[in-house]
Amino acid sequence: MAASGERRIGDVVLKVENISLAFGGVRALNDVSFDIRAHEIRAIIGPNGAGKSSMLNVINGFYHPQQGRITFKDIARENFGPYDAASRGIARTFQNIALFKGMSTLDNIMTGRLLKMKVPFFWQLLRYGPAMREEVEHRRFVEGIIEFLEIQAIRKVPVGRLPYGLQKRVELGRALAMEPDLLLLDEPMAGMNVEEKEDMCRFILDINDEFGTTIALIEHDMSVVMDLSDRVVVLDYGRKIADGTPEEVRSNREVIDAYLGVRH
């Protein structure tokens, strides 16, 4: 994939149409529509409380919108749960790290393989034969990810003891272990220093480049967003106010007002 040197943006994989989501009287999302194409990096930006995380939660089935339709890989499902999203190839990371704190880095990333492990419970009891072969096979895959993310040294360390930046990286690894078609990253660079941000940017670009994974990311660091993303959608108070290439979005009047404030 990477040989061509330029990423080929494919067809639309995810289509979000007229999504409205309300919690009681609070409108989190209001008639939002956009699409994500295969192999692109799509940024979702907006001020705090604009509904970005809610949007991701709708896409991977945590929230059920009152209105609207989501089409993923040409199959429209109005209401589907996190399990459906995971089994059909949507993985994500969280704004506040949601790792399994009591488990090692290796075990955390191994959980990303759970959906692909099929050996029946009986063999699990013996941990022998097919069960062990399956474990080894997935361990091999996970070791590939560990190498890719350069976290070999912390393989057996419980993630609760890792520094913040590394935890973010392990969480990315866990999502990658699912071999997702669509990877949702909720503020992957929040709270990082410059070096960690640079590392993370490199990983995101490499994932996109080497595995061809489609990525949707929420990020507040504008220079990162403008550099990484192919297209940007801007939300404000639950509405979509702009959608386009980074250049188009940057010069959009409404976006500037939303970010800098406007005199009323």
């Binding site: 991977n60 945590f62 749960g81 996190p82 399990y83 999203a85 995971a86 089994s87 993985a91 994500r92 969280f94 949601a98 790792l99 399994f100 704190k101 009591g102 488990m103 075990d107 191994m110 959980t111 990303g112 759970l114 959906l115 492990m117 050996v119 419970f121 699990q124 009891l125 013996l126 941990r127 022998y128 069960a131 062990m132 399956e134 474990e135 080894v136 361990r139 091999r140 070791e143 866990r174 699912m178």
Partner: protein
């Protein structure tokens, strides 16, 4: 200096993923199991009957609860109830089909407890923590009520108790009045070793990771494609199976009969929960440590101190035992709130580097 992994290179993932990746651990476990099989004939009936057998039974029950509470994060107070289901199921089965070997029934009776556990595990999808503990308390009281009020369960005995019949394996009595403590000990030991091996296989594989994921962060677990209800019910089933077998073993191989109302009471549920907490949540070894501390300590204080020349008599011994056991529990929880198993792990970690600090 002996506990060092230097020079042990792993060239295959199988070796790295072994339950005991360090050779000294394998040797240690082998020695302990060998000692458990070889030494008891040299011990008196008293030691076997009041120390070893109860220790093994409590360990098995604590291991079962640990799979649920320690590994899956679901608090349960119905342990004694599930143990009772195992005991009564075993009793009914062996009186209905006396020709089938009792060992088969002991191992199968766990499945009845598992089924009951699954039913009472259903609320766990909606409620967690203390609220789930209260819901499982309902299981405890309901099952206790059944044990007393449904005479079919105890075969309409006048005493209302389980009357353990004599059963033999290859002509050797293993259950009933004619079975020697040593025979019963060996049967229990074999069951406990076998089930511990299975529990260890479960928690080190896919199922164990599923449970721990549910325990640590259920939202993220759902996102990995884990179906929470299924994972939690499996935890209830496996946990209750272990508890059920522990209950059957307790009634048939330790007590040799008795009224289950007194045996499988809420007190037993609490005792086993405390064993799990003190031993270490989320550690199979912890179940053994917890059972050892809570069961062996009072016995040691009661009989060990007078034997060492500390004069203690009657009621004083009883009171002092309670006080000191309580104090020791508090001491261990302050030293290491994550339980004795964590203390042990830390000690091993230090030992690997000793005498160097880093």
């Amino acid at each position: 200096m002996l506990y060092r992994e230097a020079g042990q290179f792993k060239t295959r993932y199988e070796a790295d993923m072994a339950v005991f990746p360090i050779r000294q651990d394998v040797i240690g476990i082998a020695l302990i199991i060998a000692a458990a099989y070889i030494l008891p004939p040299f011990l008196g009936h008293f030691v076997i009957g009041t120390v070893l057998i109860p220790f093994l039974v409590f360990s098995l029950a604590a291991m079962g609860l640990n799979l649920l509470t320690g590994y899956t994060g679901l608090l349960s107070l119905g342990t004694a109830g599930f143990m009772g289901v195992g005991a009564y199921a075993c009793y009914k089965l062996t009186t209905l089909f006396p020709e089938v070997n009792i060992l088969v029934w002991i191992l199968l009776s766990g499945f009845f407890a598992a089924a009951v556990g699954v039913v009472f595990g259903l609320p766990s999808l909606r409620i967690k923590g203390f609220y789930l503990a209260v819901a499982t308390l309902a299981a405890q009281f309901f099952l206790e009520w059944c044990f007393v009020r449904i005479p079919w369960l105890f075969n309409y005995n006048a005493s209302g108790a389980i009357e353990v019949p004599s059963r033999a394996l290859f002509g050797l009595p293993i259950v009933g009045p004619s079975a020697t403590p040593l025979t019963r000990y060996y049967v229990i030991l074999t069951i406990v070793v076998g089930l511990t091996w299975i529990a260890s296989n479960i928690v080190h594989g896919r199922v164990g990771r599923t449970w721990m994921a549910v325990r640590d962060m259920d939202i993220a677990a759902e996102l990995m494609g884990i179906r929470l209800l299924r994972a939690k019910l499996l935890a209830f089933a496996v946990s209750s199976y272990f508890c059920g077998v522990a209950g059957a073993v307790m009634m048939f191989l330790w007590y040799g009969g008795g009224e289950a109302k007194d045996t499988f009471s809420i007190n037993l549920s609490f005792t086993i929960l405390f064993m799990v907490i003190i031993g270490g949540l989320g550690s199979l070894l912890g179940a053994f440590f917890g059972a050892a501390l809570l069961h062996l300590m009072p016995i040691f204080l009661k009989f060990g101190l007078p034997a060492m020349g500390v004069p203690l008599g009657g009621a004083t011994a009883e009171h002092l035992t309670h006080i000191m056991t309580g104090a020791l529990i508090i001491f261990f929880l302050i030293v290491e709130p994550h339980g004795l198993a964590r203390l042990w792990a830390t000690a091993k970690q230090k030992l690997r580097l000793w005498p160097f600090p880093h």
